[in-house]
């Protein structure tokens, strides 16, 4: 019986429903110490003194650590620029200055309060505008001395942390010859990932090695970053995964892990646990970056796009993490949905004295799509043509290329997506029938399946079950507890009950690129398939001898091996495994996979750190909103997703990813926002940071398009992210439609809505 396309219950459901599941915050040990961090109270300043003498002598304190006690080195995903503790210079509010480990959390907190801090506050570079002002103070005056973590250096200077430029002289010609120029300026605020388990970590130093317990999306990245900070070989760090209480991109790089590790060493090897309180978590979380974008389009009389200029500024905060890649993503997105002709793209990542930003689900695609789709609506309105029609006339097609020259083989799926959407919600009819204060929006997008490598070892157990050893993580998505489990079960005709997947352990499992970029089911599922084929070969070898048959005459059915066409010859996998173990040795096989590099033109832009857009998927969204003219609140009345998925492995899982992503997107579209004033966040608690509640949300109508990918596991591609990238786009377009006013800021705030209504009434 096939388990593909079945909504099997996720393997970790029972543990999570009974309270048995152990998250990092639940870690305990008899000798456990509790850590706390002293964090900078100012966004920018010079550290004159940190006096820890009083703290060290307090009861229960086992170690106090500052920059003086750790290796004098810098670490970073892309650039070695980040110190573990600020030693001389503070660059954002919340930056760690010192740490304490003590017998109880209260003692640790008391010791932190006893540390005497002398900081001379300096002028903070509070936002991108300030950073880009001539003679602005530099967030990193020593930027020239920083070294890339690997490979060649890339374009960066002053307060610019990373820059992509794709220039084209024909763009200026296009604007000179244009009959119509449409110009927009957009902004988008930061979004907090708001996982419900705050960041936490346990560090243990023993036998000269560091062991880290953490519920983390990317254990091998933790291994490598901790090794950088503590100046040891990566193999001297072992990272053990736990259940993850949500991540959404925020748990891809180190948070508290290196602090827990070094404090354990200084405290004589006792385990040290660190848990952020919610305010610390918000102040230091690598949130989705705020951004601005100017788009100018040159058109001829018929509305054909002659040229476009796109200038995007993204707020890096004080340190880069993985953000240096993002300008490249903007570049790829710029040509991924609509034909753009001659285009100039300038995308800059800008240092500010604010919390470092980072990855959140759908990275820059979320605001990029909102900006692009609003611009498309604007052009259509200027031309006096239907918004949907205008999109259809400008869609990229199969065989068209991204701006890097990468050919999109399946881009016609975008058109197919519009057709599917039309069946569910005929556009003209929706438009005609919409009530007063209602508006509709439609948007299209292309998204990636991240290519990073993954690996799997399959062990056939003597009871006929299979253990899957992998460092792939299930951040809650079901990629492992449904996806990998069902893929392995399917290869052997087993049920999910016959599959055991280990928790990640970097000492045991092969490298894995982490739960990011919608990659796990596709990449690790493929690796599992490769391992399964090899293991099946071994099983057939053994079974052939036991059944006295030719290897090629065997088949595997429902967890049994038999001769093709002879139902009486079936032999359970357990018998074969036992025979193998005691004759030739236990059976196991490994598989590794990473997407093959995609051909592209390396000369198309400078600063292209992320060179291509692997295994794209295609998407169309529709939303209808209702604006409340009294409160300015916006309610989403209807929301439809057409999503290309390759192949559905578990329908309940796919639905959960799409519904969950859309709701996060609606949250950002309408209220989720970390606002910055004076280089500090205004929102510092979950009370202030509004998150979507059950009462707010529509039930998303989901239409999946299956288009099996030749290299995906049974055809599956990435599913987790794409549904968030178009939500702010369709909502902003729909609100603009409802009020006949452009909404070019994300989130669309009630204040802005009311302002537009008042203005509209004035105009009569």
């Amino acid at each position: 019986m096939s388990v593909l396309g079945e909504s099997l219950v996720r393997t970790d459901a029972a543990g999570k429903l009974t309270g048995e599941a152990r998250y990092t915050v639940d870690y305990d040990a008899r000798d456990l110490l509790h850590g706390a961090l002293l964090r900078s109270p100012v966004p920018a300043g010079r550290i004159k003194a940190i006096d820890t003498a009083a703290a060290e002598s307090l009861p229960g304190v086992r170690c106090v650590v500052t920059a003086r006690d750790v290796p004098d080195t810098l670490a970073g995903w892309v650039l070695r620029e980040t110190p573990l503790f600020a030693g001389k210079q503070v660059r954002f509010e919340g930056e760690p200055l010192a740490g304490v480990a003590a017998d109880t959390p209260e003692q640790a907190k008391a010791a932190i309060a006893a540390i005497k801090l002398d900081i001379a506050e300096t002028e903070a570079v509070g936002d991108m505008k300030a950073a880009l002002t001539e003679n602005a103070p530099l967030v990193h005056p020593e930027w020239k001395s920083y070294q890339p973590t690997s490979g060649e250096d890339y374009p960066r200077y002053g307060n610019i942390a990373s820059e992509l430029v794709a220039d084209n002289d024909d763009v200026d010609v296009a604007f000179q010859n244009a009959d119509l120029i449409v110009e927009d300026e957009f902004t988008s605020n930061r979004q907090y990932q708001a996982y419900i388990e705050p960041k936490s970590a346990v560090g243990i130093y023993r036998d000269g090695r560091y062991t880290i317990h953490t519920g983390h999306q990317y254990p091998f990245n933790i291994r490598d970053r901790v090794a950088q900070y503590l100046a040891v070989r990566p193999s001297q760090v072992r990272v053990i995964g736990h259940s993850i209480g949500g991540g959404f991109g925020a748990k891809l790089d180190t948070g508290l892990e290196p602090y827990a590790a070094i404090m354990s060493k200084l405290a004589g090897g006792r385990p040290v646990k660190l848990v952020n309180n919610r305010t610390e978590d918000m102040l230091t979380c690598p949130s989705r970056e705020n951004a601005t974008m100017k788009i100018r389009s040159a058109l001829d009389k018929q509305g054909n796009l002659l040229g476009r200029e796109l200038i995007c500024h993204m707020d890096n905060g004080a340190y880069s993490g993985e953000m240096a890649f993002m300008p490249s993503v903007i570049f790829h997105l710029a040509g991924s949905v609509y034909k753009v002709g001659n285009i100039r793209v300038i995308a800059r990542l800008v240092y500010t004295n604010t919390a470092p930003t980072g990855a959140m689900r759908g990275v820059c695609g979320v605001y990029f799509s909102a900006f692009q789709e609003r611009h498309m609506d604007h052009i259509a309105d200027e031309l006096g043509v239907d918004r949907r029609e205008y999109r259809l006339n400008n869609l990229v097609k199969s065989g068209d290329s991204l701006l890097n020259g990468q050919v999109l083989d399946d881009a016609d799926l975008l058109r197919k997506g519009f057709e599917k959407m039309e069946e569910a919600a005929p556009w003209k009819q929706q438009d005609k029938n919409k009530k007063n204060w209602h508006g509709i929006g439609i948007a299209a997008g292309t998204w990636i399946t991240n290519s990073m490598p993954g690996s799997v070892q399959l062990k056939l157990n003597e009871d006929g079950s299979i253990t899957v050893v992998t460092a792939a993580t299930d951040n809650g998505s079901g990629a492992v507890s449904m996806g990998i489990t069902q893929i392995v079960a399917e290869h052997f005709g087993l049920t999910a009950d016959d599959i055991v997947v280990t928790m990640p352990d970097t000492d045991v499992a092969g490298y894995d690129g982490g739960s990011q970029g919608s990659r796990t089911t596709h990449i690790v599922g493929r690796a599992a398939g490769i391992a399964a084929d090899e293991l099946k070969g071994m099983i057939f070898d053994v079974a052939a001898g036991m059944l006295e048959a030719g290897k090629d005459d065997l088949e595997m059915v429902d967890g049994q091996v038999g001769v093709v066409g002879d139902p009486t010859s079936r032999m359970p996998l357990g018998d074969i495994a036992t025979a193998a173990t005691w004759s030739r040795g236990p059976l196991s096989a490994s598989g590794s996979y990473t997407t093959e590099p995609v051909p592209f033109n390396p000369g198309c832009a400078s600063g292209m750190l992320f060179p291509y857009f692997p295994t794209p998927t295609y998407h169309v969204h529709f939303a209808e909103v209702e604006v409340n003219p009294v409160t300015g609140n916006v309610r989403v009345v209807r929301y439809i997703v057409v999503q290309e998925v390759g192949r559905v492995i578990n329908p309940a899982g796919v639905r959960g990813q799409i519904q969950g992503a859309v709701v996060q997107g609606i949250g950002h579209a309408l209220y989720e926002s970390l606002r910055i004033r004076g280089a500090r966040y205004l929102e510092r608690s979950l009370e202030a940071y509004r998150l979507p509640l059950a009462v707010d949300m529509p039930e998303v109508e989901i239409i999946t398009m299956e288009h099996p990918h030749s290299l995906g596991p049974f055809g599956a591609k990435g599913v987790g992210e794409p549904a968030i990238i178009l939500a702010p786009a369709v909502i902003a377009c729909a609100v603009s439609d409802a009020l006949g006013k452009p909404f070019n800021r994300i989130p669309v705030s009630p204040e802005e809505v009311l302002e537009a209504i008042v203005e509209k009434e004035k105009q009569g």
């Binding site: 429903l17 009974t18 309270g19 419900i196 919610r278 996060q664 009462v695 949300m697």
Partner: protein, 155 residues
């Protein structure tokens, strides 16, 4: 100070300082770590437990206020036969993703369903106004409640 109360039907007697929250007592003193600490400000609902049948945010509930009370936590839901009907409905509907909010949702819904065995969708949504789920977007949680109600009606 002495706290005497019942947790999941068992009598417990603890010596406390007096300022502890119910959440800390459950997690630290009784090792009932199924109840989660998400925000410590009564916003996220991950710490929801029942005090004499009423759902409270245990992170802002003084432990001593539970003197002589009956406390129910997520650990008390599954009986010997396995998951209870609501837990099963969550599993089957895909109402669990990362799982960190799940114990709070289960306890809030247990309180609701005890009072209103056949809640309509609006009532369910209203009841969940104090519980944040960041993963599911709520649809499959609402469906789990509907599935549970339907299955229980069929019994």
């Amino acid at each position: 100070m002495e706290l005497i109360f019942r947790v999941n039907g068992r009598s417990e007697r603890l010596e406390l300082q007096g300022h502890e929250t119910l959440l800390d007592v459950l997690r630290n003193d009784l090792c009932l770590t199924g109840t989660k600490d998400g925000c410590r400000e009564g916003e996220c609902g991950a710490c929801t437990v029942l005090v004499n049948g009423r759902a409270v945010d245990s992170c802002i509930y003084a432990a001593m206020a539970a003197y002589d009370a009956d406390i129910e936590t997520v650990e008390g839901l599954a009986k010997n036969a396995g998951l209870n009907s609501l837990q099963n409905a969550f599993a089957e509907s895909g109402g669990v993703q990362c799982g960190f909010c799940t114990p709070g949702f289960l306890m809030m819904l247990t309180a609701l369903l005890d009072k209103y065995p056949h809640p309509d969708r609006d009532l369910v949504r209203d009841a969940l106004s104090g519980n944040i789920c960041r993963c599911t977007g709520y649809a499959q949680i609402e469906e789990a409640v509907a599935r549970h109600v339907e299955q229980r009606s069929g019994e």
